[in-house]
Symmetry: C2
Subunit: 385 residues, 2 copies
Amino acid sequence: MHIAIIGGSDAGISAALRAREVDGSAEITVFLADGFANYSICGSPFYLSGATPNWRDLAHRTEFGNISLQTDHIVRGIDIPEGNLLVEHGGVRRTVSYDRLVIATGATPARPPIEGLNLPGVFALHTMNDSFRVQQYVTESNPKTAIIIGAGYLGMEMADAFTRRGINASLIGRGQTVFPSVDPELGIVIEHELARSGVNVVNGTEARAISRSSSGAAVKTSTGRTLTASFAILTVGVTPASTLAKDARIALGPDGAIAVDRRMRTAAPNIYAAGDCAQTWDRLLEHYAYLPLGTTSHKQGRVAGENAAGGNREFAGSVRIQVVKIFDLAVGRTGLTEAEALRAGFDAMASGGTFLDHKAYYPGVRELQIRITGDPSTGRLLGHK
Amino acid sequence: MHIAIIGGSDAGISAALRAREVDGSAEITVFLADGFANYSICGSPFYLSGATPNWRDLAHRTEFGNISLQTDHIVRGIDIPEGNLLVEHGGVRRTVSYDRLVIATGATPARPPIEGLNLPGVFALHTMNDSFRVQQYVTESNPKTAIIIGAGYLGMEMADAFTRRGINASLIGRGQTVFPSVDPELGIVIEHELARSGVNVVNGTEARAISRSSSGAAVKTSTGRTLTASFAILTVGVTPASTLAKDARIALGPDGAIAVDRRMRTAAPNIYAAGDCAQTWDRLLEHYAYLPLGTTSHKQGRVAGENAAGGNREFAGSVRIQVVKIFDLAVGRTGLTEAEALRAGFDAMASGGTFLDHKAYYPGVRELQIRITGDPSTGRLLGHK
């Protein structure tokens, strides 16, 4: 029994470790495109901010027991009828047979239609090598200003990270407020924290074109403004890395992610998929969606690994939990925002306010901003931020 | 419509406020035995430790809107057929009629069979006046040592409070470890924190007799030891203050608490009970039990108040959540301990370990000791600490 796993980040390594627990005798091989097995890409902003000075600390683990880790091995093709992978290493290709396969190829940074994304001084951030490129640039060039394109959690984290390194950051988002994963009422609270810390927030705007200017990068926006800074970084989200699966004619969902069931089975025999390359069961809306997130990848990987090793586990699904810390503000969400609930067809309303984290008489009390989303006709709680 | 409420702590005030919300026109009267409406008795240890220097800050609120608060009014009797209360104020008794009645008389400190509980230098702690007595004694007599009888959450909090005031505390408990509300494996973790802070813990021991000695109080224990200290304080738990209900022939449970259903109705017409004087629906074991706790009182009070005002709300029940902070250690529990689960007939087992509160690479990581209790035959999670 040979369980092959393509990808060595959260989903791939979780699948390998769980398969090892379930079947002590199977041969388990993980093919990694780079040399960084089980590194936390969620931790990159903290490496770049200086909070985690040593990038090696970003490894979730460094011991993998009786699992074969093949670093710098790129899988070029899947031959489903033969049960083979075409694997390339050091320019040499060979065929590797599998009995069960877990595809955990992750995601790649989305590349919206912006001119100039390939210019020098324009970065994306997803792999460890991406992190090293940004680190090297910031360390060597000592830039004074940055434009961050995309005001989701990664964009906000990078605004935080750059600010801590003395770089003046502008954060461009297309939403009404930053972090559209929460209601705008809470987005404004985050914006106050960003502004207090010196971040320049530009909402309701999309980047259209990037060019080189004397000072570095010039970003032209949909509102006709041009922002200039030493460099620009793209943080507009990710798209599933599903080309390998697509080329093997494994069915994808409408969002381009590999179609899976709750056992993380793809439409192809003996092939599972997990993590940012695959669809996720949305427990609230009861359908499959593309909800890439590290914690989900980890759980899906465990399910895929268990089932690849002969188990029969179901992934419980995502309730869209996200947590992010921006300067001194911790932000969490679960369930649906008001806008998401309305889009999903709920007769939703949201309400919120400012509360204390514990009784006022006990020292150290802090204010919490809380909003809940519900369906007034049924009393169902839909979301909480 | 006159809604009368006996008791002005968590349950009574919650009942009054909720009844006010539901019925804007009813007359609502709260009879309080003392002058401290809606004070947090849970906050007493923090007043006595000095963390909350001003006792007035212990009031959950000081504005009660259109509710009549009758302080220093002691209800001496309930005439159910006539729908009357016999109320005493300043030595004068009068009759007050009610349409609906909420009994929220709370609890009194348990008085185990220990000789000498009435001696000077022996304190209990439940009301604001109890707190003032202890505060006055500690402030005026400047004691150096204390014996705390009872190692539950209040005993541990008082050990913390006295230590912060420079009083050397001994904590006597009859369990295998302190705080039997958690598994002994976690009790030991708390004991390390207590010992580190200078508290002398004596387990497996009950106090038998207290006498006056030259140095203050001498406590003789069931193991034959005699401990001496400047004073002693009794923190062995509470018993329901249900005498008034019992005298009115309102049915009590086997534990002496007023029998209620999940609508907080007593067996008597138009009479509700809530809080530490009443039984609590145990959501896990699906029976009524005596589980006195401030947060439960608050919720039960809301249900009783809503129903007294014509509503039809059910109390969801308690899952036995408790949280306590001892020096630098925060302790929480929910569900059942292993011992509680075994007593309840579950085929239970518990397991635990030491975990990190967040990813190790991010600064400020702290260790968490976690134990879960489950039923291996069904996979049901029974408890979490």
